[in-house]
Symmetry: C2
Subunit: 550 residues, 2 copies
């Protein structure tokens, strides 16, 4: 907690404050836009950008993570609340905050239980497919506010403003940095400056609306934004917590995955070490903070964090100062924001999510591993056809299925002795000697429920190929753990082989594995022996050959 | 398909026909009882015992599997249908059949997609916890029909009949085989004979009801059983298929797991090889057959299959003859069944599910691996508190969580050379030489999304411990596969190390892994080289030492 504050150096201050200012300027349009995606009033997006980063700074370990509203999580919020409350109702806002609370508690609980390893639950192609599917859903949802009417209709002034903003933002994204560099900015500053295009556009659009009275021509604006910091929210409706629990689990899970994938990329670039457990606690606290502000679920977003990083953030102070600046903006008069036209916010959303549509993963996977490419496409299709929540579940099943499939085919080698040595190697790859009565099998994987059947089947296969074998030695040099399912599997294998007059031996059992096995009945029941080394097993069993080969 | 019929030997016939007769006599009370658990008329349980085993015999590969109604699957059926239709309504029966159809299609689809490895999805403790939780739920649900009234009340004659049956069945289970042996039966025959106690009890109870007119005293009986085979059912209500899809996925999954866990036990005992993919198709066809009979989801049950095995079943003909005998029983007059009292059926259910309450797994796991024991208890508690479907999902998450946790900590060894040889071993376990500029890391696991972060973190750790290292060699002798996520991980590691002036090399890359890598950009971008052996890497990089250590 606050580890970054103890060793703080004054030299870091300019970078942190500068990055804070840049991120605050990014957050004003982004926060409001993602609140709209979540089905909430724009100002709620600003509320979600103040307390959450402050709380994250207390517990999180990433120095550059920028926590706040994020497109995909906003989409999941809207999709979870749609069946429970009508858009724009007071209940909707209450439930959104409660969803943040529950997601936060889920994250905190996972953090306290040290479940940080859950970050490894999604494969990269599945995550990419989920992102692509969600980005398309979000972009399609913004077409109507962009045009000011449901297509194929449009409202002239709104559509002009929306499509014009879209064009400008896309130009800025593609050529903005080059332009700023030609204006004399340093390359780094130019890159960061280009990311402020949405804020500049917002200011320009407000001016346009004010000058030409576009709001009186039917262009919808966000309307009066209440000044002042968010009020403390403690409203918890016990009636809905059961209905919100499942969405909260999925949202908490995705908050964590999205945040970690961004944070890990940046941490690697800074040579920084993240604690996944601390990240869970940091994100959990941030979401509880969002609840207290009456907002909605938040997470760390890669695009905003990358800007924070590029703008020179050295520590969590950057996030703190961004939050302070946003708080100050809310305390100052907010009347000028009222004229911000909605089509412009839609344009910023569309450009932001189009940036998520990267196809490099798909192209690489298509050439490299077709199954991974299909998992990507299936997940994206699942999000589009079945919805974002079904997409998470589908992604989980595909990732887990891939892992189970992999695990159900462990590498198992038949060993022989390199003549004249005490080295034993795979008979398929080396010139080795073997004995007809002794079968040495080395399992190159921990034994657990996912591969215990496969090991048993392989033993049967090898015994069928070596009908003379009367001594089966499992070489466990690569086995780091044996779970309860595999323990039962070994007991059954031992009994099964015993019935056929084949003895089961173990060799090279690792220390921690052996300590565990001593707590079980396996060692007492084992028909054979436990050997320290494969060589000792070989010598002992080859010598006793006659007694058994009769 | 029908592979068992081609090599059929006449000597197998007595065993198959005898086992068929025994299983048919077991199935009459069991089928009717489990239909009650599923919330359906008892006769439907008999319908579920005819077509399904016939279809299973066509496609399945287990010679002793007895497919039909099963307690846990019946419970899942009742729990899935409860929110959709009221008990006893025509819609309820229709939806039960439709659930069998959807579960069957799920199983068939998985079989055709060769997803047999899904049998490895549950750890043994989790499966045991699920079974224990379900057994308790089923037993508790039968207390009311056993007593003829909701406790603490009871209906005298019903309770006497129910509790008396319970006592008799428990005595038969514990002492029946010994008694029959003392009456002169061979041990094997006595064991099988004791399993027919429920059928004998059913016959006796019907006689009691008829003689003493217990039905007129308020003991509820199953009532008129329509004679004749089930009519062909093709009713599919498109309105409900969406609501049934998720339950069908869970039921299909559990049908497969339950069936495989029994079949594998027996197959190992017979030295028989099962095809998990064929089992999926066999079970799928059986469930479609149950739909066509207007019944409900079915699976292979261990207790019935074990009796089939013990009674001498040699091939699938045993199942076929059991089905034929049940069909014959339905074609003959069925009036005698009408007086069968419900409390007796409840007693058979309770005794059957109490047999599932084995605590050996829990006791072993508690001593051997506390985490597995907690997973068992959590799953059982989940079934009891949240319901059987939530229990399946919880079990899945716990099993997968355990696997991810295991996978996220792969074994990685720093290697050194055994002086004067070309052998490289773990520096922690052997006396080896090392070079300060060369770091050799052997990863003892396939590289994939579940461990790519862990590998990266370990590389960072080791580089921090070996600040002089300028050449990092990943020894991939135990790496059987590298998935797309890990490919990206290696690309990023390569770029990352390159920025710090550390070259990344690969050694002992297996053939199939190398073939894949050639389809990627990794080999082009690699800052270092690919070496055939660790020894070659060692020689080359130690020689070039000076050029890099400057």
């Amino acid at each position: 907690m606050l580890g970054w504050l103890k060793g703080y150096r004054r030299a870091w201050l300019p970078g942190d404050l500068g990055a804070g200012a840049v991120v605050a300027m990014m957050m004003i349009p982004q926060g409001m836009a993602y609140a709209l995606v979540a089905g909430l009033p724009p100002v709620v997006g600003l509320y979600a950008s103040i307390a959450p980063p402050l709380l994250y700074a207390l517990f999180g370990t990433s120095s550059t993570q920028s926590v706040g509203p994020m497109a995909i999580v906003a989409l999941m919020t809207a999709s979870s609340l749609a069946p429970l409350a009508s858009h724009g109702s007071a209940l909707y806002g209450e439930l959104a905050a409660q969803l943040a609370l529950l997601s936060g508690l889920v994250l905190l609980a996972c953090g306290l239980l040290r479940l940080g390893f859950l970050a490894n639950f999604f494969s990269r192609p599945v995550m990419n497919g989920f992102t692509i599917g969600s980005a398309i859903v979000i972009a399609v949802g913004q077409v109507r506010p962009l045009l000011g009417a449901a297509p194929p209709h449009w409202h002239g002034p709104s559509a002009a403003l929306g499509l014009g903003s879209l064009a400008l933002l896309m130009l800025a994204r593609r050529h903005g940095a080059a332009l700023l560099r030609r204006c004399g900015l340093a390359p780094g500053a130019a890159d960061v400056g280009a990311r402020l295009a949405p804020m500049a556009l917002v200011a320009g659009a407000i001016a346009l609306v004010a000058i030409f009275g576009l709001d009186r021509m039917g262009v919808r604006t966000i309307g009066q934004v209440p000044a002042g910091l968010p009020q403390l929210n403690l409203a918890v409706s016990s009636a809905h917590w059961r209905a919100l629990l499942q969405p909260a689990l999925l949202i908490g899970f995705m908050c964590f995955l999205i945040s970690m994938s961004g944070a890990q990329t940046l941490a690697a670039r800074k040579g920084e070490k993240l604690s996944t457990d601390a990240e869970l606690v940091g994100l959990g606290a941030a979401n509880v903070g969002s609840f207290l502000s009456g907002a909605f679920p938040v997470t760390g977003g890669l695009s905003r964090s990358a800007v924070n990083f590029a703008a020179g953030a050295n520590t969590q102070l950057a996030g703190v100062s961004a939050a302070a600046l946003l708080g100050a903006a809310l305390v100052l008069p907010t009347g000028w924001l009222a004229l911000l036209p909605l089509p412009v916010l839609s344009a910023t959303i569309i450009v932001a999510v189009l940036g998520m549509l990267e196809t490099a993963t798909l192209r690489t996977a298509w050439r490299y591993d077709r199954a991974d490419a299909l998992a990507l496409l299936t997940t994206a299709g699942g999000v589009l056809l079945l919805g974002v929540e079904a997409g998470v579940v589908l992604g989980l099943l595909l990732s887990m299925g891939a892992m189970i499939w992999r695990e159900s085919r462990p590498h198992i080698a038949v060993l022989g002795r390199i003549a004249g040595t005490e080295h034993f190697r795979n008979v398929d790859r080396y010139e080795v000697e073997i004995r007809s009565c002794v079968l040495l099998l080395r399992v190159d994987a921990g034994l657990f429920f996912g591969n215990v059947e496969a090991v048993h089947a392989r033993v049967e296969e090898e015994l069928a190929l070596h009908p003379g074998a009367r001594e089966l030695v499992l070489v466990l040099s690569a086995v780091n753990a044996i779970d309860t399912s595999a323990l039962f599997g070994l007991l059954e294998l031992n009994a099964e082989l015993g019935r056929r007059g084949v003895r089961l031996h173990l060799a090279e059992v690792k220390g921690p594995v052996m300590d565990r096995l001593k707590e079980s009945s396996l060692l007492d029941r084992l028909s054979g022996q436990v050997f320290l080394t494969t060589a000792k097993a070989w010598d002992a069993l080859s010598a006793s050959d006659e007694s058994w080969s009769v």
